[in-house]
């Protein structure tokens, strides 16, 4: 109990401070995942300029976001991983995807152009459990007959901090490499069998840059903003693809939205000519039984406005908008929100 208190003190400090501030009474408050924080905040600024409510988003981490929306201390929570259906049910939450992110793999192999290197998910998984230890391993050279790969050790880098990026990456590896699934598994932080951990995207990127033979995974937005080059991976059709925005969109369109529970459709290892295999949505959570329905409605208005007007900002910040068809599915989900019999969507 005391621990819980101390914890929520630490995590909620910023959020509460904002709720208390007088002029911000009708502001939208949100908390959670760090990955979408820049785009949520930028959309929030644009939305306020266009006459909408102001947004205060606290990037406290996905775990904290889920906890805070369960405690109803914010208007919406944000999580990189979908929340389990039973938990959504129990806590009376509606979950929907808001924006798409992708994870790319960066390398530092002396004398070799990283963008030319091709790997399959299975080989990548074996690298990350330490089964494949050298860059000139036959399994790697077989995929890259045209490249002269040196005989140097592979140093896999991973996120030291608990992270949604790690969750997406390990989910992907677990789905394509049985060995990785058995030895490591998926989660925000996992038991890595080899390699080194560095703090944040910046840490992983610097570790790969520093270490000859390094390999690491970072968010696409981070790689794009820093002009980093990523290698090619095989997708669900067995095609080697370079990470590109059309490739992420294609993966999102391929996802099985019809059968996705709580809109948590997997976009990993999708087939297609360009589909990048490590793509995932990040989610927003709103209460189905809000104390103040108007506040939840203003969250929906903000997201709707961003869906319609936020593409340029998303492009500038290297995030990927949901495909229009998926946006409409999200709006259809909102229409099921009807506290006290009054539907919150469409808002008038």
């Amino acid at each position: 109990m005391l621990i819980q208190l101390a914890r929520s003190l630490v995590t909620a400090l910023a959020a509460t401070a904002l709720v208390v501030a007088p002029a911000l009474a009708q502001d939208i408050t949100g908390a959670g995942a760090t990955f979408p924080a820049p785009i949520y905040s930028s959309w929030g600024e644009d939305y306020a300029k266009a006459g909408g409510s102001r947004l205060n988003y606290q990037a406290l981490g996905s775990g904290a976001g889920v906890t805070q929306i369960i405690n109803r201390t914010v208007d919406f929570g944000a999580s990189d991983s979908p929340v389990a259906p039973e938990r959504l049910e129990k806590e009376q939450l509606l979950q929907f995807p808001a924006v798409i992110g992708a994870v790319v793999v960066i390398v530092n192999v002396p004398g070799v152009d990283g963008t030319k290197i091709k790997l399959t998910g299975n080989v990548l998984g074996e690298i990350y459990v330490g089964r494949i230890r050298l860059w000139d391993d036959p399994k790697i050279t077989a995929l890259n007959p045209a490249l002269k790969l040196p005989k140097i050790p592979i140093s896999p880098a991973y996120r030291a901090d608990s992270s949604g990026t790690t969750s997406i990456f390990t989910k992907y590896l677990s789905s394509v490499s049985p060995l990785f699934k058995e030895r490591t598994g998926a989660g925000n932080s996992v038991a890595w069998r080899t390699g080194l951990g560095a703090p944040g995207n910046a840490g992983v990127a610097a570790a790969v840059k520093n270490i000859k033979g390094g390999i690491g995974y970072v968010e696409f937005a981070y790689a794009a903003e820093n002009g980093m080059q990523a290698l090619q991976l095989a997708n669900g059709s067995g095609k080697f693809v370079t990470p590109t925005v059309p490739g992420f969109l294609q993966a999102a369109e391929q996802a099985d939205w019809d059968n996705a529970k709580n809109m948590a459709a997997t976009m990993l290892n999708m087939p297609g000519d360009n589909s990048w295999p490590i793509v995932s949505a990040t989610y927003i959570l709103v209460p189905r039984n809000p104390k103040d329905p108007a506040r939840t409605q203003s969250v929906l208005k903000y997201v709707d406005w961003s869906f319609r007007n936020g593409a340029a900002t998303a492009d500038r910040l290297h995030y990927i908008m949901l495909p229009t068809a998926v946006q409409n599915r999200v709006r259809a989900q909102w229409a099921t929100l009807a506290p006290a019999g009054k539907p919150l969507w469409p808002a008038n």
């Binding site: 621990i3 996992v190 610097a206």
Partner: protein, 320 residues
């Protein structure tokens, strides 16, 4: 005690202010104890779930797996102790050298600037050490130091078939790099404390040694060190205590691998770094949070033990 009978204190009238003052001093002293004990108690209560789940095996379990929810603290404990002790082995001789230089052979003009420089070293924020270690020291280690160490010490036989001393891929970060950063960080503490201890050596003893024709080295080893031996150990243990708990700098350079190390240069993790990395996403009521608090409890106990030893050594010195 041959002093004449003291006047009976009880006979004097005690001013109410005296009582108030005395009580408030007691209260001030009690605050420290209460805070310490409640931190310890809260850590233990929060970590109880971990001790209940894994028993004492939590302390020597070698597997740390958030996916299967199996947690053992030994990798983090090992990383903590190895980096701290290694840091001490590096910082102690240098710190002692600085202290002796400052008190004995340093020209008067240099004494103050050097002293200030050492104190400045203590004032650098630990995050700065971490970033410097990560962006400057780690590439240097990986490029020059580690390959040299590997090829030079290849002859040292491994411990069993799992620990190879200096044979490891040169990735720059790891226990050795962390120990170097920690050594720089604790150096000012060791140097300053040692200097104070050396300064406290009675001048009479030193003069006596020099009068006998002793060289500086002979005076140091034969007279000064024996006279203050215990305090010197105390100074070292204070440095060790700091090295055990350092967090931010270590997170950057240790490589954050929660598994048993296979060499001195292998990436590892310390208790403090594991807690710092995983605390933000650990949810209340889960085993994930409980193991972190249990780790904190273990670190608390280890640090407390180290400081207790330091106190004991310092006190022995004063009494003898």
């Amino acid at each position: 005690m041959s002093t004449p009978a003291t006047p009976a204190i009880g006979a004097r009238k005690i001013h109410p202010a005296d009582t108030t003052f005395r009580l408030s001093l007691h209260a001030a002293g009690a605050v420290v104890v209460i805070v310490l004990l409640s931190i310890l108690a809260i850590m233990f209560m929060g970590g109880k779930l971990a001790f209940d789940t894994f028993g004492l095996g939590f302390i020597w379990g070698t597997e740390w797996n958030p996916v299967t929810q199996i947690y053992g603290a030994l990798p983090a404990i090992t990383g903590t102790l190895v980096t701290a002790i290694l840091a001490l082995c590096i910082a102690w001789p240098i710190g002692f050298g600085i202290a002796f230089f400052l008190t004995e052979t340093c020209p008067e003009k240099l004494r103050t600037p050097l002293g200030v420089a050492i104190e400045l070293l203590a004032a650098v924020p630990s995050i700065v050490y971490g970033m410097w270690g990560f962006f400057v020291l780690a590439p240097f280690m990986s490029e020059y130091v580690q390959p040299w160490l590997t090829s030079t010490f290849l002859w040292i036989p491994p411990i069993g078939d799992s620990f190879f001393w200096f044979t490891a891929p040169p990735i720059g970060v790891g226990m050795l790099t962390a120990a170097l950063i920690l050594a720089v960080m604790i150096l000012p503490f060791i140097a300053a404390t040692t200097r104070d201890v050396l300064l406290s050596t009675p001048q009479l003893l030193k003069d006596g040694a020099y009068a006998m024709g002793a060289t500086r080295w002979e005076a140091l080893t034969g007279v000064v060190i024996p006279a203050v031996r215990g305090s010197l150990f105390g100074a070292v243990f204070l440095g060790l205590g700091r090295a055990l708990g350092e967090t931010m700098a270590v997170v950057f350079v240790i490589g954050n691998a929660i598994r048993m190390p296979d060499s001195l240069m292998a990436p590892s993790a310390t208790i403090a770094s594991v807690v710092a990395n995983n605390f933000p996403e650990a949810e209340p009521g889960t085993l994930d949070l409980a193991v972190l608090l249990a780790l904190g409890f273990i670190l608390f106990v280890v640090s407390f033990g180290v400081l207790a030893v330091a106190r004991l050594l310092l006190r022995q010195e004063r009494m003898s």
